[in-house]
Symmetry: C2
C-alpha cells in the first residue's frame, strides 16, 4: 500500500506542469497545473502598465520555479495581437485602444525571463481551445465559441486549427436585419447597429437605462437580444456549418436568454438546413460554456501543452 | 534536335492524364487533360436522367481510354451531396429538389465502371479549388469563392482544406439589413429577403420586370445589388477573415457591379479592419473569377489530381 501510494505521488510529480496566462483589460489570471481538476497554483493580478504587469507574471512563475517548474506557458491575450510567426512583431499586442498597451511585445519578455516555449493566441481563441479540450466544444470541428459581454467576440476551430486569416475573425461586428419597429441606434462606434452594437452589455444597459444584470427576465429587451443573437447564429451557421455553437460571457448569465435564442433560430432556419441537430436538438447545437469564466485561462493551459506536443 | 523533340513528346505522353466532370442542373461538362492550357478532350452533355447521364459520362471516358487513359477523375456536383467518407451514402447526391436526382449514387457507378480513384465535391467547392489552383484565388488560405447566378453559392478554403462542417456552407442565405426604403420582399422560398432572395438573377429579374442581362448599367437596381453584395462580403470578411473574395457567376457579367461593391464595402467597413488590403487595395481583395465558366470543371480536374497526390 505504502509503496503504491509513493509510486502514484512520484508519477504525478514526474508528469510535466504547465503555465497559463489570460491577459484581460482589467486583470490577468495566472495558473500552474495540468487540467481543470489538477490546478496547483493560481493568482489574479490587476492590469496596470505593460512593464509592471508582465514583471508580476514573470515573478509568479519564478516564485513557483523551485518545486513547480513549468514545461511551457500558454498566453491568451486581449487583442488585437500579432499571430503571424513570420512577422517581426509576432507575439505582440498591436493597435489596441487600451492606453499604454499598443505595440507591446509579450512573448519576447516571457521567453527571455522564463526560458520555456510560449503558446500565443487571442483571448477568445484561447477560450475556444479551453472549451474544445475540457468543455462544451469537446473535440468538435468546426466549432464556434461566442462570448457576449462588454463586447462580442468569437473564435472558430476548423480543419484542425483555429481560424486566423488575414487579420482574425471579428464576428461581433456582423450586420443584421432590424427587428420591426426597433429604432435603437446601437452602441458600436464603428457600425452602430452591428451585433455588438445591439446585444453587448453596454447595448442592453443603454436600451434599459440600467445595467443588464438588473433587468428582469420578463423585460421585452431580453426577447430582442435573443432575436438578434439568433440572427447572428443563423449567419454563423450558414457560413461555417459548425457542429456546435458554444456561448459564454456575462450577458448569458440571464437564464431566460439561451432558450429563447434556440426557439428563434429554429424558426428562422425554416427547416432549410436539414439536419436533426438543427431541427430537433437545438439544445445540443447551441450550448452554454462549460468552463465559464475559466475558459480563457484553461485555454491558455491547453496552449502551453500544444506548444510542446509533437505534431 | 530530332531526339530532343522526341524526348519532349514522350515526356508529355508519359505524364498522367486526369478526368473531370462538372455536374450541373442543365448540363454536365466533361474533360480530359492536365491543366487549363493542356486539355486534350472536352464535351458537354445535357442533364437528363441519372442513369442516362452517368452512362454518357462513363462512355466519354471509355471512348478515350485507348490512347487517353486517365489516372483519376474529379467530380464537382450540384448538391446537396454527401461528402462524409464514413457515411454509407458517401458519393451521392442527397435531397436535391431536381426531379429524379434525389439519393443518386454518383461515385459508386463511376468507380465500378472506370476503376480509377474518384475525387468528389460540391460544385461550388470544385470551382473554388479550380480558382485556387489556376485562377484568382491562387494558393490563398483562407479564401472565399462566391458565385451569383440563378442561386448564390460559396465555397471556403481554410487551414489547408475546403470547409465542410455539419452540412456544408450555405452562405447564399445570409440575413442582411434592408436598405432604407427597400420594400422588395425577395424571392427565396425559405427566407424571402436573404442574400440569394435579393441579388440572384431571378431576384433582379423580379425587381426589374425583365432579365438581369437586359438591365442597363445605369439602373438603380444595380446599385442596390451592389449594396447587398457588399453587406454580405462584409459579413463574410468578419467571420472568415479571408485573404481574398473571388466572385463569379452570371450576375457578375454586369461590369458596373464589382467596382460599386468595392466602394460600398470600403465605406461599410469604416476602417474597422485595419489592413492595407481592406483600406487601399479593395480591387485586389475583391477579385473577379479568372476561370469564368470553366472554374467548376477545372476544379474537378484539380480534384482528380488531389485524389492521387501523396499527402
Amino acid at each position: 500500500m505504502g509503496n503504491a501510494l509513493q509510486t502514484r505521488v512520484s508519477d504525478a510529480a514526474a508528469r510535466p506542469l504547465f503555465g497559463a496566462i489570460e491577459g484581460g483589460g482589467t486583470k490577468f489570471v495566472l495558473m500552474i497545473g495540468r487540467s481543470p481538476t489538477d490546478i496547483v497554483r493560481r493568482a489574479s493580478i490587476p492590469t496596470t502598465s505593460p512593464v509592471e504587469t508582465l514583471a508580476r507574471c514573470i515573478a509568479f512563475f519564478h516564485d513557483a520555479q523551485l518545486e513547480q517548474r513549468v514545461s511551457a506557458i500558454g498566453v491568451g491575450m486581449f487583442g488585437p495581437v500579432d499571430l503571424d510567426r513570420r512577422s517581426a512583431t509576432y507575439g505582440s499586442i498591436t493597435s489596441t485602444p487600451k492606453a499604454g498597451w499598443g505595440n507591446t511585445d509579450v512573448v519576447g519578455p516571457l521567453t527571455r525571463a522564463l526560458g520555456v516555449p510560449i503558446g500565443w493566441e487571442h483571448d477568445v481563441t484561447a477560450a475556444l481551445l479551453g472549451e474544445r479540450r475540457w468543455g462544451a466544444a469537446a473535440g468538435l470541428d468546426p466549432v464556434l465559441y461566442l462570448t457576449v459581454g462588454t463586447g462580442v467576440g468569437a473564435g472558430v476551430f476548423v480543419n484542425g486549427a483555429p481560424l486566423h486569416g488575414l487579420l482574425h475573425p471579428e464576428m461581433g461586428h456582423l450586420l443584421l436585419p432590424a427587428l420591426p419597429g426597433d429604432e435603437f441606434s446601437g452602441v458600436c462606434p464603428f457600425h452602430g447597429r452591428c451585433l455588438e452594437g445591439l446585444v453587448s452589455g453596454p447595448a442592453i444597459a443603454k436600451r434599459a437605462g440600467r445595467p443588464a444584470e438588473d433587468l428582469p427576465a420578463t423585460s421585452p429587451i431580453w426577447t430582442m437580444v435573443a432575436e438578434y443573437l439568433a440572427m447572428a447564429l443563423m449567419n454563423y451557421s450558414l457560413v461555417l456549418s459548425p457542429r456546435r455553437l458554444v456561448l459564454g460571457g456575462g450577458v448569458l448569465h440571464q437564464p431566460a436568454l439561451l432558450p429563447r435564442v434556440r426557439v428563434s433560430l429554429r424558426r428562422r432556419l425554416a427547416d432549410y438546413l436539414q439536419h436533426p441537430l438543427l431541427r430537433e436538438r437545438l439544445d445540443e447545437y447551441i450550448a452554454p460554456s462549460a468552463l465559464g469564466d475559466d475558459a480563457g485561462v484553461l485555454g491558455a493551459l491547453e496552449l502551453a501543452q500544444q506548444a510542446v506536443r509533437p505534431t
